[in-house]
């Protein structure tokens, strides 16, 4: 799966060696600006069309359980405490003890200093520990500091690392720098999975979202992720659509499936199901697994649980019947 084996990229275009083009901004520019353009109006139209899909009954129930299993239950506040993280881990393992119980979420996502707490909190379960790193959320630190941040998180037991790209370098066209940083973080991650946050709210155009997606995938990302959640707009269906098309096309040319994580602002089960529809009809059903699609959220989980209960019992119970941690 090494990037070196990736001999052909943009479909229908000349073959090239990624390791070679990645040595210069000009080489990467040639590849990234050679990708097919993205028409914003067309994307909005497609997204609006897919938003009218009607997901009911059994398919809704399956979607809700799947969405729960895709949640990266997240707390990323300066005010986070070990107690809060421990409570969140308990919730992640057993979101709802209804009958049948809700499945556990995919992972908990915390700041690096709280990784040991989270690690202990999920011990003995399948729930993974994800840590943001690389001077999250701004990414404004030297590469050395970013790498130290990553090693710190991994050595504390993080299974997954959510890094941010240097948006300033990307927007200024210093693609080589962004590529090299992702490669370096990839190395520093060791066995941990790497999610690369594009912070699409700062990338200005969908063309840039497509280019940043390819750059991150070429550099070895396991996941591409929309947002930190600290910038508005965060995840939007339009951005998700472009990224899902990118991972689909990347598999066709590079033979490797990269995952997508949407994060920020997804609060309702209805929104989550709409994202699943996008996954199903853009990347394809192969992506309908927590291994390849994640939803970063904090408050979403309770709405998923509430809708799940409604779907199973036919009745809404009040929010007080669902735990708030």
């Amino acid at each position: 799966m090494g990037i070196e084996s990736l001999d052909r990229l943009a479909p229908g275009r000349a073959e090239f060696d990624v390791a070679e083009v990645a040595t210069s901004d000009a080489g990467l520019r040639q590849v990234l600006h050679g990708l097919p353009g993205v028409d914003q109006v067309g994307v909005q139209e497609r997204v609006a069309g897919l938003a009218t899909r009607s997901v009911k009954k059994d398919s809704k129930l399956r979607a809700l359980d799947l969405a729960i299993r895709m949640v990266d239950l997240t707390t990323l506040e300066g005010a986070d405490t070990p107690g809060k993280v421990t409570a969140m881990c308990a919730k992640a393992r057993h979101p709802d003890l209804a009958d049948p119980p809700a499945p556990p979420v995919a992972a908990v996502c915390v700041y690096p200093d709280l990784v040991p707490v989270a690690r202990a909190g999920v011990a003995g379960s399948d729930v993974a520990v994800a840590s943001v790193a690389t001077a999250f959320p701004s990414g404004r630190a030297s590469l050395a500091v970013k790498l130290a941040d990553v090693r710190d998180a991994v050595s504390a037991g993080a299974d997954e690392v959510d890094m941010v790209i240097d948006r300033g370098a990307f927007l200024a066209g210093r693609y080589g720098q962004v590529y090299a940083e992702i490669r370096a973080v990839r190395e520093a991650c060791g066995p941990a999975h790497l999610k690369v946050i594009l912070e699409t709210g700062e990338l200005a155009t969908l063309d840039n979202v497509s280019r940043a997606s390819w750059l991150a995938m070429m550099a070895g990302a396991d996941f591409i992720k929309t947002s930190t959640g600290k910038v508005t707009p965060a995840a939007t269906p339009a951005v998700a659509l472009v990224m899902l098309a990118a991972v689909r096309d990347f598999e066709l040319t590079a033979g490797r499936r990269v995952g997508v994580k949407v994060a920020g602002g997804i609060r309702t089960a209805k929104d989550a199901i709409r994202y699943l529809v996008l996954v199903n009809e853009t990347a394809g059903p192969a992506w309908l697994t927590p291994r390849l699609f994640r939803i970063g959220a904090s408050t979403l989980l309770n709405d998923l649980l509430m809708q799940r209960t409604k779907q199973r019992t036919g009745r809404y119970s009040g929010p007080d019947y669902f735990t708030v941690d």
Partner: protein, 493 residues
């Protein structure tokens, strides 16, 4: 740690969910279909003078929906007389501001009863509820709203200080957008002060009859709108009636020619909106993903029963493979089936006759050496169905590149230079619409100046708006519908 296994490319992830959308049918109880329908003449429903009737079917199940009166010459005469009377006594002299009130009322009632209309249209026509709900009905209401606004401003429309209506309009409409075509015809005619005799298509009379009920509901004066159901002979009787001042027809080029011939030498004004064989031109710098969506929307919207459908895909040869491959992958996600299911993308073919025509032309494509491809797509056992179909390796000389198929069948041709694209796009007796897909604004303008088509879409397809004129060149007809231009067809300007 099942959640973090490596993501090596696997044939199919064991964990991936086979996720099917459960059936989500719109309830058909919202609309009441009477067993019998009469003709709408002079504000009332009445049986045909000769008592003749015909059945209208649900093309998705071949089930009979209702028995509908078949108008004969005596009924046409009664309807035209009622329309003339209403024109002379009520509608012609009425101030534009008062006419506008009726049009606004019709528009609002269409919105209020939108679900009812959408379900009925899907039942009678076979098109998916997603389209009737999101396109046909809202656009029909939008046309009434738009032209209501013009009714008291006709002297500012650029047709002189005191433009006069023409009188009684005979309007014959097709089955592909039954209610929408009725709205396209009635709204500008009524706004300009004409009265109307509308003849809906034989296979899709029900929404026009429901619209007649709406006319009663809003208190439209009797005779202003008359609806005569029937087949070709009824339409012929309407357009040849001596007291008709204006003929508006949307339908096949063949019938359009007959109408033009019949109207020749009379004082009748004629507008015709006929067939098409539109080129959808994709350049190598096009936004591929969105172009594929546009191709799908261009030819598979309404099962391709669209006169402006992008039925010829002209794709630049350097991207032909990738565009076709992505198109095919996209087509495998289309959902064909029950038109009332909210997740259905492709509905039923409107009639047995149309299905036979599509089948025959597709067979001609095979015989002439084009390569046929359809996604794996089981067709329901009953009703009229045709799978989304793509022909590659098509030449200009093939019948499937020249004749209007009016079904979900796309012919793919390639080109090398922009000049060749223009030459191929224009190499048709039609000229209704065209599409251009490129990231270059200058090329869009260059192409649009050279394409002989009434409507040119750039980086989109099948977009409609009541403010935008629509109509054709050459054998796609003459006259424009929609926008300020659409008023000209109903004014003595």
């Amino acid at each position: 740690m099942s959640a973090i296994e490596p993501t090596q490319a696997a044939p199919a992830d064991q964990d991936a969910l086979a996720w099917e959308y459960a059936p989500a049918p719109e309830s058909r109880d919202i609309v009441t279909i009477a067993p019998q329908y009469g003709l709408f003449i002079d504000g009332e429903f009445r049986p045909a003078a000769e008592g003749a009737t015909f059945a209208t079917l649900n093309p998705a199940s071949e089930e009979k929906l209702a028995e509908v009166a078949k108008a004969g010459p005596a009924d046409v005469d009664a309807a035209v007389t009622a329309a003339r009377h209403a024109y002379d006594r009520v509608w012609g002299p009425m101030p534009g501001a008062e006419r506008a009130k009726y049009l606004y009322r019709i528009a609002r009632v269409l919105q209020e009863r939108a679900r009812e209309f959408a379900v009925l249209e899907s039942l009678d026509n076979g098109k998916p509820i997603r389209e009737t709900r999101d396109v046909d009905i809202p656009l029909a209401a939008a046309h009434f709203f738009y032209y209501a606004g013009w009714a008291d401003k006709l002297e500012y429309a650029g047709f002189g200080l005191d433009p006069r209506p023409l009188g009684v309009a005979g309007q014959v409409i097709p089955w592909n957008f039954p209610l929408l075509m009725a709205a396209w015809k009635l709204a500008p005619a009524l706004a300009a002060g004409n009265t109307c005799v509308l003849k809906p298509a034989e296979t899709t009379p029900l929404t026009a009859l429901l619209l007649a009920e709406v006319c009663q509901q809003v208190g439209l004066p009797p005779g202003v709108v008359n609806v005569l159901t029937g087949a070709g002979e009824t339409g012929a009787a309407v357009v040849t009636h001596p007291d008709i001042d204006k003929i508006a027809f949307t339908g096949s080029t063949e019938v359009g020619k007959q109408i033009a011939a019949a109207a020749a030498g009379t004082s009748k004004k004629v507008t015709l909106e006929l067939g098409g064989k539109a080129a959808n031109v994709v350049f190598d710098d096009a936004p591929v993903e969105q172009a594929v969506e546009g191709i799908v929307n261009g030819i598979f919207f309404n099962q391709g029963h669209v006169c402006c459908a992008g039925s010829r895909l002209l794709v630049q040869e350097s991207v032909a493979d990738i565009v076709v491959e992505r198109l095919q992958r996209r087509l495998t996600t289309l959902r064909l089936g029950d038109p009332l299911d909210k997740n259905t993308d492709i509905g039923a073919i409107n009639s047995r006759e149309q299905l036979d025509k599509i089948t025959e032309l597709s067979a001609a494509g095979d015989a002439e050496g084009a390569r046929r491809w359809s996604p794996p797509c089981p067709l329901p056992g009953r009703g009229y169905w045709f799978p989304p179909t793509v022909f590659t390796g098509v030449s200009q000389s093939h019948r499937i590149a020249r004749e209007e198929i009016f079904g979900p069948v796309l012919s793919v041709l390639t080109f090398r230079t922009p000049e060749e694209a223009v030459a191929k796009a224009n190499n048709t007796p039609y000229g209704l619409s065209a599409g251009i897909w490129t990231d270059k604004g200058s090329r869009i303008l260059w192409m649009a100046q050279r394409l002989r088509a009434g409507v040119v879409w750039a980086n989109t397809y099948n977009r409609f708006d009541p403010a935008s004129p629509f109509g054709g060149y050459q054998e796609s007809g003459y006259g424009r519908e929609g926008g300020r231009h659409g008023l000209a067809a109903y004014l003595d300007a």
